[in-house]
């Protein structure tokens, strides 16, 4: 099958692309970042998904399936451009899929969609509304991108659209929201709070995306790995030292502390858990994660 992958130069993008090649698919990659030394079997295009040149790739290459991973978080991208990349990029992706006969579209989203709050339940199911959009504007564009992609389910019923909300990835790449947070020997945590953190090995996350593709999954699904672990236990397990900071100080000094890129509302994500229920995904695909909580953390730690 001919599969187009946007955001292919990212950590997860690369893992997904390599897996697809291994399974005998033809992979077309789009990313505005370069992927030096990409495998020759992967057709790379250095384009911005929102630009005409990216549409040309859809037009001329006619992929049967497409995976959208070209969304960015406030961690890597602080400018207002982030919002445009996420919203207009997702719109362009869905519209090109529709216009150029893509049969299957996968949007790779995040479990932070559900937001963290004192009264939010553990194990969110897919039907729950996003509770963080108003308190965490830096997350609102990702929530909107997720909802926009979901709207393709009724807007373009001829496309098998799948929205995956994946928990934090962790692994040897040391990339990702959680990975960046855990870097450094002293990790600031909010004093008196110790939220459960839901994470998955990056290889398992890539496998879940490929599984969704091979099973022609249709609908919105949470994806998680092993059962969650409190933040302090994770910090210790990766060899770090949790440094408790009172919430008011965190709020005042967030940008000056060891958390250079965290917006103020991120504090809720250090106080309250976001844990998802991924039973629906497991039932629909028979997917099982390979790395347990210890192995996932060890893989991250070993790459130090």
């Amino acid at each position: 099958m001919k599969v187009l992958v946007t955001g292919v130069a990212g950590t997860l993008g690369r893992l997904v692309a390599m897996r697809l090649v291994e399974r005998g698919h033809d992979v077309i990659g789009i990313d505005r970042r370069p992927w030096p030394n990409a495998p020759e079997s992967i057709e790379m295009y250095e384009h911005d998904i929102r630009k005409r040149t990216a549409e040309d790739v859809f037009r001329t290459r006619r992929p049967q399936a497409a995976i959208h991973m070209a969304t960015v978080t406030h961690l890597v991208h602080k400018s207002p451009d982030r919002m445009r990349v996420n919203l207009y990029g997702t719109r362009a992706f869905i519209q090109h899929c529709h216009k150029y006969g893509v049969k299957q579209a996968i949007f790779v989203g995040r479990h932070t969609y559900y937001g963290a709050a004192a009264d939010s339940p553990l194990y969110h199911t897919e039907d729950e509304p996003p509770m963080s959009a108003h308190t965490f504007p830096e997350l609102a564009d990702l929530v909107a991108a997720d909802l926009y992609a979901s709207s393709a389910l009724w807007r373009y019923p001829e496309i098998a659209t799948c929205v995956l909300r994946i928990v934090y990835t962790l692994g040897p790449s040391k990339h990702g929201t959680l990975g960046s947070y855990l870097k450094g020997s002293t990790v600031p945590v909010v004093m008196g709070f110790d939220p459960l953190i839901h994470f998955i090995h990056e290889e398992d996350a890539a496998e879940a995306i490929v599984t969704a593709l091979s099973r022609k999954l249709h609908g919105v699904y949470n994806v998680s790995g092993p059962s969650p672990v409190p933040i302090s236990a994770i910090v210790r397990a990766v060899g770090g030292r949790p440094f408790p900071v009172p919430a008011t100080l965190v709020r005042l000094g967030l940008r000056r502390l060891a958390l250079p890129n965290l917006p103020p509302a991120a504090i809720d994500h250090l106080k309250y858990p976001i844990v998802v229920d991924s039973d629906a995904f497991k039932r629909a695909t028979d997917y099982q994660h390979r790395y347990d909580e210890r192995e996932t953390i060890d893989a991250f730690r070993a790459a130090r």
């Binding site: 009264d119 553990l122 008196g192 092993p226 969650p228 858990p273």
Partner: protein, 278 residues
């Protein structure tokens, strides 16, 4: 850390070990309950439960040894001492021990320390999604349908009941869970509140600040009576009209009122254990 200095009671540790919970490689169950923290806390708490206070528990045989259930009872005494005593009776007296998950008020998880402690011991903000999930997982819930209105009763009203919410009944119907009613007597004596400061409470982010006879929020050593009634099973879908559901709630409330009455008579030594109708 201070918690490492706390003594560990081997008997308590053995009871926590026998709980029907599965822990991952870091020692946490899927809801974040920490075996280590439970043992540490209960080791200290057991002294308060057995020696500072004294709880006469009746009707433990009415508790399901396993499987889902909702403990429903009266609230009193300014702060939730009753909740702590129910927790103690379930973990320290019941055979086999069980860990009830209280559905606590949403302000609690907003406080540093409280949030961490509650999270590690399985005490969550009352939320229907959370409650249904726990029940379907065959856990035991602890619900005070009077909520903060219940703890806010002044000492003179400690044995009375205020309005019950209907949420617990809808949960019971939807998940086909038995309700185990309980009556708790003595909350008003341990912490006799004479007033509640609502404005100060708002300032601090709590529903109110109770003021006791002696000013301080320190409970005096008290003997409590805790009576568990026979499980009550109701038939329905959980989506009944309010008046239908309300009638069922009234039945539970009546039972709890009766348990409180008997508990009060026991306390005043007007009846003995042999006279109890649970």
């Amino acid at each position: 850390m201070l918690d490492k200095l706390l003594p560990i009671d081997p008997e308590v540790a053995a009871r926590i070990d026998s709980l029907d919970l599965s822990f991952n490689k870091f020692g946490f169950d899927p809801y974040g309950i920490s075996k280590k923290d439970l043992v540490r806390f209960m080791s200290v708490f057991s002294w308060f439960y057995r020696h500072y206070f004294k709880v006469d528990v009746y009707g433990l045989e009415n508790l399901p040894p396993r499987g889902r259930g909702i403990l429903v009872g009266n609230h009193s005494g300014g702060v939730a001492i009753d909740g702590a005593m129910v927790m103690g009776s379930m973990l320290l007296d019941a055979e086999p021990p069980r860990l009830p998950h209280s559905m606590i008020d949403r302000f609690i998880h907003q406080f540093a320390g409280a949030s961490q402690f509650m999270s590690r011991t399985g005490q969550f903000t009352g939320n229907p999604d959370q409650a249904i999930r726990l029940l379907r997982d065959d856990r035991l819930l602890l619900v005070f349908p009077e909520g903060a209105r219940g703890t806010a009763k002044l000492a003179k009203d400690a044995d009375t009941l205020v309005t019950f919410g209907t949420g617990f009944m809808r949960l019971a119907l939807e998940t086909k869970s038995p309700i185990i009613p309980f009556g708790f007597v003595g909350g008003g004596e341990a912490l006799p509140t004479v007033a509640n400061l609502k404005a100060l409470g708002r300032l601090l982010g709590v529903p109110y600040v109770p003021v006791t006879k002696w000013g301080l929020l320190v409970p005096k050593p008290t003997r409590f009576q805790l009576l568990y009634g026979k499980p009550m099973v109701f038939e329905g879908s959980g989506h009944e009209r309010d008046d239908v559901c309300g009638a069922m709630v009234e039945e539970v409330k009546e039972k709890i009122r009766d348990l409180i009455r008997q508990g009060r008579q026991l306390r005043e030594k007007k009846i003995t254990e042999a006279d109890l109708v649970l």
